[in-house]
Point group: C2
Chain length 339, copies 2
DNA sequence: TTGTAGGCGTTATCAA
DNA sequence: TTGATAACGCCTACAA
């Protein structure tokens, strides 16, 4: 054996004086090997510093012990957090994580799905379930187990998430209960993004229930940066009558709005109330602290990993794990001005 | 061919009326195949929906087109940002990213290195270069190309980073120039973390150059949470004489310190100045905005990917890419009280 | 330019 | 409990 080449099963087998089959069994199903031989084999294994070859193993066993995750972006703290938890849980189960990002683009998501498939991932983590039929068809055809996270779902598939719509509605009710009637919303782009769409729907539903006309509730869909939100906020503040409360689709947007408010000389919450969604670190660091909706991102990441692993092992799973959310009232929601 | 089985090279070859070798060539070295046949083959490829099998390819070619990254945690915005850029760049080059996290623990980092190695990654991204000799030995033995990022290095290896020491020193000089003499530092844990260690060294060096005795510059090494930093800050503020400026090893620590300052009824910067490091989003969102050091994390991620790819392709690389950093003065640094 | 054929390292099926 | 041995799907000299 070449001194620099990686040792193979064969080398180990020869060193231990057994067949390759036995070595393989020692590694994969140790209990099917008598203790004495197993010990001898294991000694040879780490004498040689043997580690199994991934390609060979994948080829022969049709399994990669690899799972993929396609998320919009890791730049967003909520996905980064969730992904971290997802990865750690996977790691504990001996699986490793392949990551790709879609940049919120269904086309790129689809491409990454193909990449993942060709990498032979055993399962897939996807965010949300709004995607073109062709992508869903692809998943079905390939028969790749997957879970959709960060939202709840309709009929098909497995979900680990929370009720975006209900959470948004409940936050909106709180705002209305404070006496606000002139609401506005800054949302993320809702196209092919069910989290954003559901949050809009929730706000609208709560407003409607309170007798606020749809036409009196401007909704601006904005990009995901502070600046985008700031611009949207300025636009909103230029309207007459001016909204007294601006509900934002996530904390980043809310903070962007707060910054613009300060620039405009508007006090929060005295002149205008602002709310967020997600409760990331940012939320409790701004002044005043952001009123927002708390979501257990890390626990969702863990749960998603657990469910996916069950799916891969063909164990029974409940089709949906729902997490509760909580409105956390902090400093950016007050009564409307002049009350 | 079974209707549900994935098509293989063989299926494509038969469908196109050529040999498997030709199909393989069409996929890997298209220019070595005449246009007419190539076209025929490609038609068959997507008629069948063929995608190459990863295991087979890895086994035969001894390459996985996969690179690994082992980072302390994705919870930290700076690594998440960098990783995002790293991944995108890789993706453009047809490589996919395997991620693992060490939780700042050299032992876990080592385990993940072994996982990555056994996955057959073509290259590895590591953070920093402080790690046990045994880990470095492992890398050497396996001959896995890797780049160390977020810092600059000594002799061996490739680096994409910046000069933590110099940046910290330069920030400290600014603080001293404002008239501060009683400094203190809240650092991350410096054991096996050269970024943290270098930042401490930079602060100390600048202080020494200004004639400030080491014994008069307390340094507390704290965990990475807001709370840890808050606790450290409280400890610092309890000392007499009280430091007039607290330099923090990163922005998260600085924000934790700011929160505690507010709790203690201390105004920033009137009663005490605070500085950070990294310039993450957090920094410009707190009130007052944080004086910190700006570091181009995304560009570092891209550069690291580029360098690693060259390394993998055995192209020549400069051993080190250094990025500049800038002190950004915002609101948390003022003159010492009573000046 | 294309085809033939051997081998990559493992797992899995059968026998022994 | 163990050992032979045939896949697994692809790449790549080498030959045609």
């Amino acid at each position: 054996m070449n001194e620099f080449a990686r040792p193979t099963l064969d080398d180990v087998a020869r060193a231990a004086g057994v067949s390759t089959a036995t070595v393989s069994r020692c590694l994969n199903t140790p209990d099917r090997v008598i203790a004495a031989t197993r010990e001898r084999v294991m000694k040879a294994v780490d004498a040689l510093g043997y580690t199994p070859d991934f390609g060979g193993r994948a080829l022969a066993s049709r399994r990669t012990n690899t799972v993929g995750a396609i998320i919009p972006t890791m730049d967003n703290a909520i996905f980064a957090r969730g992904l971290q938890a997802f990865q750690e849980t996977l790691s504990k189960c001996g699986k490793t994580l392949l990551v790709a990002s879609s940049g919120y683009d269904p086309q790129r998501e689809r491409e990454q799905m193909e990449v993942m498939a060709s990498r032979g991932v055993d399962g897939l983590l996807l965010i949300g379930s709004a995607r073109p039929e062709s992508s869903r068809e692809f998943l079905r055809r390939r028969g790749i187990p997957f879970v959709a996270a960060w939202n709840l779902g309709g009929a098909e598939g497995c979900f680990v998430g929370f009720d975006n719509r209900a959470a948004a509605a409940s936050l909106t009710e709180r705002v209305i209960a404070r006496g606000h009637r002139r609401l506005a919303m800054i949302s993320g782009i809702s196209h092919m993004n069910d989290r954003a769409a559901d949050r809009i729907a929730g706000v609208l539903a709560a407003a409607a229930a309170a007798g606020i006309a749809r036409s009196e509730l401007p909704v601006i869909e904005s990009g995901y940066g502070f600046d985008d939100a700031a611009k949207a906020f300025a636009e909103l503040m230029a309207q007459t009558p001016r909204p007294t409360a601006v509900l934002c689709g996530n904390d980043v947007l809310a903070v962007g709005a707060m910054q613009k408010a300060r620039e405009l000389g508007l006090r929060v919450p005295e002149d205008v109330s602002i709310t967020g969604f997600d409760d990331i670190d940012l939320a409790s660091v701004v002044t005043p602290k952001l009123t927002t909706v708390e979501v257990p991102h890390q626990r969702m990441g863990e749960a998603a990993a657990g469910m996916l692993i069950k799916l891969i092992n063909k164990q029974p799973v409940e089709p949906q794990i729902e997490f509760p959310t909580t409105v956390v009232e902090r400093g950016t929601l007050g009564p409307p001005p002049g009350n």
